[in-house]
Amino acid sequence: MGSDPQDRPGVRHELGVSVSGPEHSLSIQSLHVRYGRGEPVLSGASIALAPKEIVGLIGASGAGKSTLLRAVQRLVEPESGEILLDGVDLTKLARTELRDARRRLGMIFQEHALIERLSVMENVLTGTLGRTGFWQSARRRFAPEDVTEAFGLLDRVGLTGLEDSRCDELSGGQKQRVGIARALIQHPDVLLVDEPTASLDPATSVRIMTLITEICLERGLAALINLHDVPLARRFCPRIVGLKEGEVVFDGPASALDDEILRRVYGDDAVGAPAGHQGSPAGTEGSGGTDGENILGR
């Protein structure tokens, strides 16, 4: 909690901090999802997260990355498959138990999904709604320990003193920090992170990813992180899962990602052509001036 809230872009996932607490795992088994009667979006995707493991999920637009995270939360109901959180199948839970399970899965959203007209503090405290009574929350009488924790989290994510600012006054990076604090105050066992850097500039993207991965290490959280930016995924996620047309086509260490695998995940256009928009300076890991040859930024 006491560490410097200003992120350092250079910090890597190897820089572990002390980890404690019980270990939680998430296992997604042959998940099938379709919207209405349309084409299936997920056709039997399986991913298992070991305790404390940070997994990056990559894939082209429409490959089913967001759907997969939303199906784990049952924001989309899966057609079939199992979602095991510490061995309990979430797909079988009734409403009340499901609410409790959702509380244990902290989610960080693409474009932050904050309530723009509410204050930073109110947005963070919405993370406690799973355990706060309706009338207490409606009258904004949150438990003092939750408020204390919220202040602590704001310090941790680098938003000290901004608790009364309205969220629509914040920058993109600040909003995502509020989203992170909101997810953490749920006391999640696993983090689901959906495109946390979408619409952020390269430097801010790196800061946000640094913050997320640091926090996972501090709290011993396993995390499944959707990323459209392959260099960013390689840099921050020790393990990468590649999704294509609703199926897992790669699952292995980030170091094993090569052109052949990228072709498998993204199709032939991903490799070989100059990919200027992909080779963002922040994501290239100092590989010299001629990067941008392919999607990896090498």
């Binding site: 899965l105 309530i115 723009e116 799973g130 309706f134 989203g179």
Partner: protein, 269 residues
């Protein structure tokens, strides 16, 4: 570039609503003919127009000499009654329209509740205030109570429908985020929906306050109390000076309401 300039200039016209020229001419000709025939079915009687003009002169003469004094007690009572009717009706209607508006939002409730709420809103908007007022005056007798009930019915339909539309347009992402953190339906509404629709809701309520005051003058004509009742009385006594005074006061009140609601809107939004 040179090759492009050699190409023939292409013509383009926007696609017409009716493609066939014959059909188009038939439709337009038919409309014109009907318009002409319809115009002649309205009986135009020169003597009545002349009489009307004389009466108009009389009326505008009175309009130029507004008399606030002679009937002041009646006028004041009527105005105060209208203001009270407006305030009570708007507040009660707002309280009723919030649950109805939430219930009539497809993105918040299951089908049956949606249909039921929409039905209630549709019925309350089905008739013009005047017809509703006639009905309630027949039920409850002359006076402001019938008027207040009329205004409530009209306002609930108006506020509920527009509120439901605002709710259906909210950004779904924060709602999903609230669901994902284990929030109940009530908390999702309080934290996800209401903050997003609040500015619109206040705006609508203020606008409806305005409408209700003007409406209270109208429904008074059919016996539902308020300044409208005073106005009809003055009219039927041919006291055009008092009528003029009342109309000026109504304009003044609407203007004051406009200024106040403008100020409030600035502070609330």
């Amino acid at each position: 570039m040179a090759a492009e300039s050699d190409q023939q200039a292409q013509q383009w016209r926007p696609p017409r609503m009716i493609e066939s020229a014959t059909t188009r001419k038939l439709v337009l000709g038919g409309l014109a003919l009907y318009g002409l025939l319809a115009f002649f079915t309205v009986e135009i009687d020169p003597t009545r127009i002349a009489e009307g003009l004389t009466r108009a002169a009389e009326f505008f003469g009175g309009w130029l000499r507004p008399d606030f004094v002679t009937r002041w007690t009646d006028i004041r009572a009527g105005l105060l009654e209208s203001v009270a009717m407006t305030a009570v009706a708007t507040v009660v209607a707002l309280a009723l329209s919030i649950p109805l508006g939430l219930g009539a939002a497809r993105n918040l409730v299951p089908g049956p509740i949606y249909t039921a709420s929409r039905a209630v809103l549709a019925v309350s908007r089905a008739f013009h205030e005047i017809i509703v007022a006639i009905l309630f005056v027949a039920m409850f007798g002359f006076g402001p109570f019938a008027g207040v009930v009329t205004l409530i019915v009209g306002s609930v339909g108006f506020l509920g429908k527009l509120l439901a539309e605002a709710v259906e347009e909210v950004d779904p992402a924060p709602l999903e985020a609230l669901t994902a953190s284990g929030a109940t339906w009530g908390s999702r509404v309080v934290f996800g929906v209401l903050p997003q629709v609040m500015p619109r809701m206040w705006g609508l309520a203020l606008y409806r306050l305005d409408i209700n005051f003007r409406e209270s003058a109208v429904i008074g004509l059919v016996g539902a109390g308020g300044i409208g009742a005073t106005l009809t009385t003055a009219f039927s006594r041919y006291e055009f000076e008092s009528v003029s005074a009342i109309l000026i006061l109504i304009i003044g009140m609407v203007f004051v309401a406009e200024v106040i609601s403008g100020r409030l809107r600035q502070r609330l939004l």
